[in-house]
């Protein structure tokens, strides 16, 4: 108790710094995965991708990041065991932030693919289970979270498979793909706007004071969907069949129409990524602020101040701008065979899955979800060649990241405990 009273302000400041550092890491690390398919399919230029990422990652973080942040902040740890020693929660969350942030740096340096979500969850479970006690962890919730890490890539894969098959049946396989593209793509654009709006409104906006019933949310979402559809129709009006380009590859003009669709999907993916991954940085921060501001009470009910999500969003944007442009440039060079029609199917499937997870408060790995979606398109025979070794490296990164994050967090936890007591 006294420790909190004594050091409360320092703790909050330190937590903000660590939280911002972690958010920066999330932005720098994950943006390639979120925007990769858009730049790689050449539907967006580098500049457009960065602009979209800045806008929509921030929007996703602020508007839809609340539920996942709540889970990271108080869903994993059982507060009753900490009632006597609230400072342990503060030390633990700071340790978790430090551990995850440093693990991200190390992994980036060595070129390992690492999930920011797995790092922070592993770190939190680590310090709670070892530093406090095994009962301090809501193992049921942790079980749900781990299950979601398996379910989300599979779900994204299934959605991507059917999305792409629908594109094939309605547009690519037909006698006149270009005309059908112009006819059906607006409906896909509507779908993008509708899904994102729907999940956000039904689940996410209580912290800015917007309470909508299910029907109201559905209604607003339909309207937003229609608006995006109108914008899309306007944008694709200018696209004409280019016979010289089509001679080389029959579908060139069709893919241009999909390019418009891909623009909207990229926005959706950035939004989804921001909504799910901001929590990795600011969830622990929110826990610390909650404890300190309640004067040492580890109550579950303390509301989360909106500035925390703002800080997280800003951190992601900072990381994205400072580091991401380098990464996205490489992405554009490497992926040569991805066309907008494929990119769209994979990205929308991933974005929908992530946004639904964000709405239900489940922290999932956006990277792994996107990998699952890409595999889904591959299974629909939509992609020329996929390197399945990547799936293997993902399993390895699972096995390594969780204990690594946990061990580092435990280390830092005991260090901080020693420093402050």
């Amino acid at each position: 108790m006294d420790i909190i009273a004594q050091y409360g302000n320092i703790m909050v400041i330190m937590a903000c710094v660590f939280g911002f550092f972690m958010a920066w890491g999330v932005g720098a690390n994950d943006v390639a995965n979120a925007m990769g398919t858009s730049v790689g399919s050449r539907a967006l230029t580098l500049k457009q991708a960065i602009l979209i990422a800045i806008l929509f990652e921030f929007a996703g973080a602020y508007l839809a990041g609340g539920a996942v942040t709540a889970t990271i902040r108080k869903g994993i740890i059982e507060p009753s065991l900490l009632a006597g020693n609230p400072e342990l929660l503060v030390f633990g969350m700071m340790a978790a932030l430090l551990a995850a942030g440093i693990w991200l740096l190390v992994a980036t340096h060595f070129g390992w693919p690492v999930s920011t979500t797995h790092s922070i969850v592993g770190a939190i479970v680590g310090f709670a289970a070892v530093g406090i006690s095994m009962e301090a962890v809501h193992w049921a919730k942790v079980g749900t979270i781990v299950a979601s890490w398996v379910v989300s890539p599979v779900t994204a894969g299934i959605i991507a498979f059917f999305l792409f098959r629908s594109v094939q049946k309605l547009i690519l396989d037909t006698e006149n793909p270009f005309a059908n593209a112009k006819r059906y793509v607006p409906y896909y654009i509507f779908l993008v706007g509708f899904i994102i709006a729907m999940v956000t409104f039904t689940k996410g906006l209580k912290h800015i004071g917007l309470h909508l019933s299910w029907f109201q949310s559905a209604g607003v979402s339909v309207i937003i969907g229609l608006i995006t559809m109108a914008i899309g129709i306007f944008m694709q009006r200018k696209i004409k069949v280019d016979p010289s380009a089509d001679r080389e590859f029959h579908f060139t003009s069709v893919e241009k129409v999909f390019g418009v669709l891909m623009l909207f999907t990229a926005c959706a993916m950035a939004f989804a990524h921001g909504s799910n991954d901001v929590a990795n940085a600011v969830g622990p921060l929110a826990a610390i602020v909650g404890v300190v501001s309640a004067g040492g009470e580890v109550a579950q009910k303390t509301a989360m101040p909106a500035w925390i999500l703002l800080l997280g969003g800003a951190g992601i944007v900072a990381g994205l701008v400072m580091y991401g442009h380098k990464v996205i440039a490489t992405v554009g060079q490497n992926i040569t065979e991805l066309t907008p029609s494929r990119g769209f199917a994979a990205t929308l499937a991933a974005a929908s899955t992530v946004v639904v997870a964000s709405g239900t408060g489940l922290p999932i790995s956006t990277t792994h979800t996107l990998v699952g979606a890409v595999l889904g398109v591959g299974l629909a025979r939509g992609l020329a060649a996929l390197n399945l070794k990547v799936v293997g490296t993902i399993f390895v990164s699972w096995i390594v990241t969780l204990p690594a994050g946990a061990i580092l967090a435990i280390m830092f936890f005991f260090m901080l405990k020693g420093m402050f007591t």
Binding site: P113, F164, T174, A385, L386, N387
Partner: protein, 225 residues
């Protein structure tokens, strides 16, 4: 920065390199026309130059084939079976191999083609080259096939091309039969060993068309899923 799984997932597609490979094989076979004309005119310098070009093109095709094989590890996930793709590649390469064999043999023996069968031989060669061209056309549809997911409308287009390829091969067979009977009519007036090798050349030129047809067959296997 290679630690993004998304970056690492997308491997280089083998389809474009395979299209380039068969174009190289076709170029190698097409050189046979100036070669035959040089042989008929007994212009051995020109014939040697042609044979060198054919051998060079065939070598380049071999390099491309090796490169494609290296890029097809078992961990690669393809929309078509890997073995079918490798079979197709092997059949494409055999076209270039046969062209090199023909040129090598005719140059080595400084072959004299009897006047009575010269036009028919050139006719057979042209038909064989048309068959190869048809195979190249069918293979050029590979990236469209990929875009269509190896289904539907595009498959019908390719099947039509393959049917035409079969017909061209039948025509070549016909020409080959006629050519052999023409040679049979005059063989007693010729040196026996030369005649044997002439029959060999006729068979080999017919082989060019056969191999082109087999390329079509392998392509059909890719579609039949």
């Amino acid at each position: 920065m290679v630690n993004s799984p998304i970056l690492q997932m997308f491997a280089r597609s083998p389809f474009k390199p395979m299209q380039e490979h068969i174009v190289k094989a076709q170029a190698s076979a097409a050189e046979l026309i100036p070669f035959f004309e040089a042989v008929i005119a007994h212009d051995w310098d020109a014939a040697t130059a042609c044979q060198h070009r054919i051998a060079e093109l065939e070598n380049e095709a071999d390099d491309m084939k090796r490169d494609i094989r290296q890029r097809l590890p078992a961990s690669l996930f393809l929309p078509v079976p890997r073995t079918d793709l490798l079979d197709l590649l092997r059949m494409q390469d055999k076209i270039a191999n046969r062209a090199k064999d023909i040129a090598g043999l005719m140059l080595g023996r400084q072959m004299t083609v009897p006047e009575s069968i010269q036009p028919e031989l050139l006719n057979l060669l042209n038909t064989a080259l048309m068959a190869i061209e048809q195979a190249v056309l069918a293979l050029n549809e590979l990236d469209e096939l990929l875009n269509a997911g190896f289904r539907g409308h595009e498959v019908d287009i390719v099947e039509r091309l393959i049917t035409e390829l079969d017909q061209l091969e039948h025509k070549a067979d016909e020409h080959e039969r006629q050519l052999r009977s023409s040679l049979f009519a005059v063989e007693r007036e010729l040196y026996p060993i030369d005649v044997m090798f002439l029959y060999q050349i006729i068979q080999w030129v017919g082989d060019l068309a056969n191999r082109a047809q087999q390329v079509g067959n392998r392509l059909q296997l890719l579609l039949a899923r």
